[in-house]
């Protein structure tokens, strides 16, 4: 009986929602400005804590976690990332989204996915290990920098001051996780044929490639004169520029298997707090005492 009532209500709800959607689309087509306002409202509604309960999609929950964390003083939050190796399918969407988000040039990678074959036939499997910067609490890369260009910021994220970095690459040798790469100044479009009139000819593509990214909340265009970030060491920064705007890191939102989790480990209600309390949690090379902030569920 209850089921029938629910079904009736659901149908009613569905019809209401459909009607509202049609009304919205009609209004939007008539008045684009109103449509933008409506989308903004819709986004605001989506950002509201409603629907971020324990049964919600984990992305919705993490967005709610993020909003809560951003309301806290910086010193009281602790960003961590959890990677569930049982869920990772090795699609590399995180790698690509990171490249797109940070407009990474050839040879620079913040989040490769390691692929390994394990076992002997017939008991074989594959393991995919996404590897961002570990954002160590005891980072070996920081003390070696001769000019304090790399340091843990107030968020606890290991960052690089591009204008301070002299490009000596000592930090690269010190990192036991190979989480840093050097920007050799290359572009994907160099020496490619010029295809006039096409949408993605060399000229257009080159202009896009040289347009600024937004790392660390600034604009870093790839200029011809080897200006930073060319000649600098670069690394994952948990998409600080996105966090600042209330958005999860690019790799987290694009993970199709929901294998990447991000949030504030100091918040007992956050998804990540729950996960890192699991007995099957581990960190890479813990014996080095680097205290990584990236955890793996195995």
């Amino acid at each position: 009986m209850t089921k029938t009532v629910n079904a009736t209500l659901d149908r009613r709800g569905f019809l209401k929602a459909t009607g509202a959607a049609l009304a919205f689309l009609t209004a939007a087509s008539a008045d684009p400005e109103h449509a933008v306002a409506a989308v903004s409202t819709a986004t605001a509604v989506a950002r509201a804590p409603i629907g971020a309960g324990p049964d919600s999609d984990v992305l919705i929950r993490m967005q709610a976690d993020l909003r809560r964390a951003l309301q806290k003083p910086v010193s009281q939050r602790r960003w961590v990332m959890v990677l569930d190796l049982r869920k990772c399918v090795g699609c590399h969407a995180c790698t690509i989204s990171c490249v797109a988000e940070n407009k990474l040039p050839p040879g620079v990678v913040y989040r490769p996915v390691l692929e390994e074959e394990i076992g002997l036939y017939p008991n074989v499997t594959r393991r995919f290990t996404p590897k961002p910067c570990m954002q160590c609490d005891n980072p070996p890369c920081v003390p070696v920098c001769p000019v304090n260009a790399t340091y843990k910021n107030e968020d606890g994220v290991v960052v690089i001051d591009y204008e301070q970095c002299i490009g000596c690459r000592y930090c690269v040798t010190a990192c036991p996780y190979a989480s840093r790469t050097f920007d050799f100044g290359q572009t994907y479009t160099k020496d490619t044929p010029v295809a006039e009139g096409l949408i993605v000819g060399q000229t257009t593509a080159d202009a896009y490639e040289r347009a600024a990214n937004f790392e660390y909340g600034a604009q870093w265009a790839r200029e011809e004169n080897e200006a930073s970030p060319v000649g600098n060491v670069r690394k994952c920064h948990f998409c600080l520029h996105r966090l600042k705007e209330g958005m999860l890191p690019a790799c987290t939102t694009t993970c199709i298997g929901r294998a990447t989790y991000f949030g504030d480990a100091n918040d007992p209600d956050s998804v990540v707090s729950d996960l890192i309390a699991s007995p099957n949690i581990m960190r890479l090379k813990e014996e080095l005492g680097t205290e990584p902030r990236v955890y793996y569920l195995v």
Partner: protein
């Protein structure tokens, strides 16, 4: 003189080739270098270690004249200091060109992190360079000046500690087991002294003074006596060097830590095994030992000088064999195939630009050094020195 002309010509050719390398380095940055984000330090860093090692060693030997006042080495101090000055410049040029933003080097002086071994090295070598320059100036102008000995004392301490510091520069990287051995900073001062001795063999053997009055009387010349002592020093240090190598490699292989074993195997049996066995051990160690233990050959200008060249070639390869293998072992094995792209490889062989720049530095330094021996009063007359 003919030999000197040949060295001038070779230096000029090397410099000419180097000019193209310098152009490419300044025009295209690091794009055409073969090192990358995995093998992150290449030939230029290895050459930095090599040259500054020679500089420190040459300074150590200059103290035999100006600090310890050993009669046999009287008169060799100035040319040793000149050698130290030129090789230090070569080392700093090599590492300077390796920087991604060399125009920001001033930041190491004005905004340094003095806990960084690299910042300590930059400061240390700057002070060391100034001490070499001041010592050389005084040695030429006012050899009896009261500041000479204090300068030599401070310089000697710096030469030892900076050599050790270069070992520590690598050794503090706990994640690289091949480097992270306590012995590394202890080895480097020995390497420095040995390469300084080899440089002095070249200088005295191939370009030394020829005005010794004892030569005509059939007695052992002062020059040959100096060569004999330097040869013995080179042989002893070569044996110590081999012992260090044995201690390091045997312990690594016995310990069995995969990353370490992989690096040692890379040196001995990897792609460039020939550089280790033939250049470093064969020509750089065994041949010089066999030649220099024979008094007749060790006292011979040509033999001793050319053995010095071989020892230095061996040291250059040894420096490369310290820097590269540790970096060719992935921190995580699957990194090899995780993401592909330019400069993302665990294999390394210097590119043409890297060779060109290095040859340019070697050529330029050779010419400058020879110009100094021609234009500056570096040797003095033997008859005056022996008084």
């Amino acid at each position: 003189m003919t030999l000197k002309r040949i060295f001038y010509a070779l230096g000029g050719l090397a410099l000419l080739f180097g000019l193209w390398g310098f152009y490419d380095r300044f025009a295209n940055g690091h794009e055409n270098a073969a090192y990358g984000s995995y093998v992150v330090w290449g030939l230029w860093v290895a050459m930095y270690l090599f040259f500054v090692g020679i500089a420190a060693g040459a300074f150590m030997l200059a103290t035999l004249d100006y600090l310890f006042e050993i009669p046999l080495f009287k008169g060799t101090g100035k040319v040793a200091l000149w050698g130290a000055f030129i090789t230090l410049g070569a080392g700093l040029a090599s590492i300077g060109l390796d920087l991604g933003h060399m125009e920001r080097i001033w930041k190491v002086y004005l905004q340094p992190n003095l806990f960084s071994v690299m910042a300590q090295m930059v400061w240390g070598y700057t002070i060391f360079g100034l001490i070499i320059l001041a010592s050389l100036w005084l040695a030429i102008r006012q050899p009896k000046h009261m500041a000479v000995k204090p300068l030599m004392i401070v310089g000697l301490f710096l030469a030892v500690f900076l050599s050790g510091g270069v070992g520590a520069l690598l050794g503090v990287n706990a994640g690289r087991t091949y480097w992270h051995v306590g012995l590394l900073p202890a080895q480097f001062p020995v390497f420095s002294l040995a390469s300084g001795a080899a440089l002095m063999l070249i200088i005295i053997g191939l370009f030394g003074p020829t005005d010794d009055p004892s030569a005509s009387s059939g007695q052992a010349t002062r020059r040959s006596q100096q060569l004999w002592v330097l040869s013995l020093l080179t042989v002893v240090l070569a044996l110590v060097k081999v012992y260090f190598l044995w201690a390091d490699f045997s312990q690594s292989l016995y310990g069995g830590i995969p990353q370490n074993v992989q690096a040692v195997n890379e040196v001995m049996f990897g792609q460039y095994w020939w550089a280790f066995w033939i250049l470093q051990i064969g020509f750089g160690t065994v041949v010089p030992i066999l030649v220099l233990v024979q008094p007749k050959l060790a006292k011979h200008n040509g033999w001793a000088g050319w053995m010095g060249v071989l020892v230095l070639v061996g040291f250059a390869v040894a420096r490369a064999n310290i820097v590269f293998p540790a970096l060719t072992v992935p921190e995580l094995e699957a990194l090899r195939t995780a993401f592909t792209g330019p400069h993302l490889s665990f294999e390394y062989f210097p590119s043409l630009v890297e060779w060109a720049v290095t040859l340019g530095i070697v050529g330029g330094s050779t010419i400058l050094f020879l110009l100094g021996t021609d234009r500056l009063p570096l040797f003095g007359k033997t008859s005056e020195v022996t008084k």
